[in-house]
Symmetry: C2
Subunit: 335 residues, 2 copies
């Protein structure tokens, strides 16, 4: 089969590779759409010590099951492979399974390929009438959805009464803003430094969008909930300044280091800071359902390209030449 | 009246001062017992920009109401004066009232004095048979109690199923350990560097006590709940290392800065970090009730001295010559 292989920092090779090896419970899925995530870019740049070349990246995938009970059905892939037996899994908190794996990280290859191996229990049927390319958005959407679910659970007020601030207007930030809206929040700010992304988020018409480098945003002690989809020193600092006493910060992004925490304010004003990693299977299903119901809007904030043109797509993203929040690659080997 | 007045960094003066001025709703309480808190020491050293000399420190007080409905009754003082009208107060979260005041911080004088002014609504009757000196422990106990209540609310398991780690074996750390035990936790570790304090905590017979400078403690990813009553770089670092995926850190101490946060682990492992400040009135009442019921043990981990000897007491604490977790000062002007 063909795959886009990460072979060395800043180097990808679109080439012929063997079909994936199945682990226990795995079946093969023919990939039809797979998004490029910030973490793929991070790995491509050689910054992710967990993703060592040579490796097939890509974990935001939808396609058609090749075998098993869902054979020939369109499916979305939950890329997080969990044991189902540890106390976290048994409590439904599959995302903190102590032996979790994710496709695109050893020992599992990713989905920038014609085929990917994944346990059948990780598949969710694509709802009738949903385009397979849109379906591939389920993974970043579930990440934003999960952060909003966590923030809502920790907030002392319902989201309908909250002012919220999202850092980042990429796919996860956009998904967090849409999830806040779908879960009842009506006063949403989104901070994004890239003008093209600001425009994309603004089009969704659910949030006040601003450039944190030149505009003031909501101000100090002005929001109840912060969803930090960037996770950098500057956003942590700005998020803690912006949150009201007793408020909640859901920290999703993994940009850099540990700086920017104002532990004194967090303590004196009882701020809750919660780490958010991916999603549970429940969040993933809820996200697909919300996508189907229309609660997350038209979901047109992506562009699609051939997987064969993936190298150029990575370069465009790196150079800031991609205006949309997401590039979805489409393998053609399955056609 | 006589008072111990903080007049300049590292300088106290036991001297005659005017009786306190009452603000609206205030009544006078004759102070009979008042503990020395770490924050009093912090102010005494000139490290608290909110507590400017000249000022009467002291906020852990019990005594007898001089006037009002509780006249001549023994009372414990909740030193946190809140508005009762803001959304935080109306939700019972009085400790994050946006206009909160505390005695021993301008505009309110503290309780290292014969008399203190405080709203009548801040008084809780001392239960029958409880010594007034013990009653003065209610304030640090309520601080530990509150942190445990918050941690329990955020934990995904009941405290009875949790391994817990408390940093600090002073009055608040001791209170947190006792509160964990009273609220059902049976696997409690306490880290304390001072040998005398370790001995005091060990006597309570509810926790495994260790010296974090020379002993390993519970290890990495070994506890579900951390109560950090120190709040220093070293304890934050050790707390985040010790907490299991999905666990909770309640951060009470205000020792220093913002360092020690492992934001990457907190994000990837969904750790919840919550700031804890003092207590709500509900926590305060619950603490007094738990003290009365015996759920917090014998409460004999303090020593008492005359307020007139307060200068020496501060010096002993500073030089590490006080073995007990708490020194309670006893004004004699009321006798």
């Amino acid at each position: 089969m063909k795959a886009l292989v990460y072979t060395a920092p800043e180097t990808l090779d679109y080439r012929e590779v063997p079909e994936p090896t199945r682990q226990a419970d795995d079946i093969l899925v023919r990939v039809e759409a797979v998004g490029i995530c910030g973490s793929d870019m991070h790995a491509y740049l050689g910054h992710d010590e967990r993703r060592i070349a040579p490796l097939i990246l890509g974990h935001e995938a939808a396609g058609t099951a090749v075998e098993g009970a869902l054979r020939d059905r369109r499916v979305v892939i939950n890329p997080l492979v969990t044991c189902g037996r540890c106390s976290a899994c048994l409590a439904g908190r599959t995302n903190i399974c102590t032996s979790r794996q994710i496709i695109s990280m050893a020992p599992r290859q990713g989905a920038f390929a014609d085929l990917v191996a994944i346990p059948e229990r990780n598949l969710i049927p694509v709802p009738e009438g949903m385009d397979v390319t849109r379906a591939a958005l389920a993974e970043p959407i579930a990440t934003g959805w999960h952060a909003v679910v966590k923030a809502a659970a920790l907030s002392h007020q319902p989201l309908a009464e909250c002012d919220a601030l999202v850092f980042g207007g990429g796919a996860v930030g956009m998904s967090a803003a849409l999830s806040l809206h779908a879960q009842g929040c009506r006063r949403i700010h989104v901070a994004e430094t890239n003008a093209g992304r600001r425009e994309t988020v603004a089009k969704a018409n659910i949030a006040a969008v601003y450039d944190p480098l030149s505009e003031p945003g909501p101000g100090e002690n002005a929001v109840d909930v912060v969803i930090d989809c960037v996770g950098a020193k500057a956003t942590r600092k700005a998020g803690i300044a912006a949150v009201r006493p007793g408020g909640v910060i859901a920290h999703v992004g993994l940009s850099d280091g540990a700086d920017g925490m104002d532990v004194r304010k967090m303590t004196l004003q009882e701020v809750t800071f919660v780490g958010c990693y991916t999603y549970t299977m429940e969040d993933f299903r809820a996200s697909v359902a919300a996508m189907e119901s229309g609660a997350l809007g038209s979901l047109d904030w992506f562009e699609q390209r051939d997987l064969a043109d993936g190298i150029e797509a990575f370069d465009d993203l790196l150079q800031g030449r991609a205006a949309s929040s997401k590039i979805v690659l489409r393998p053609r080997g399955g056609d």
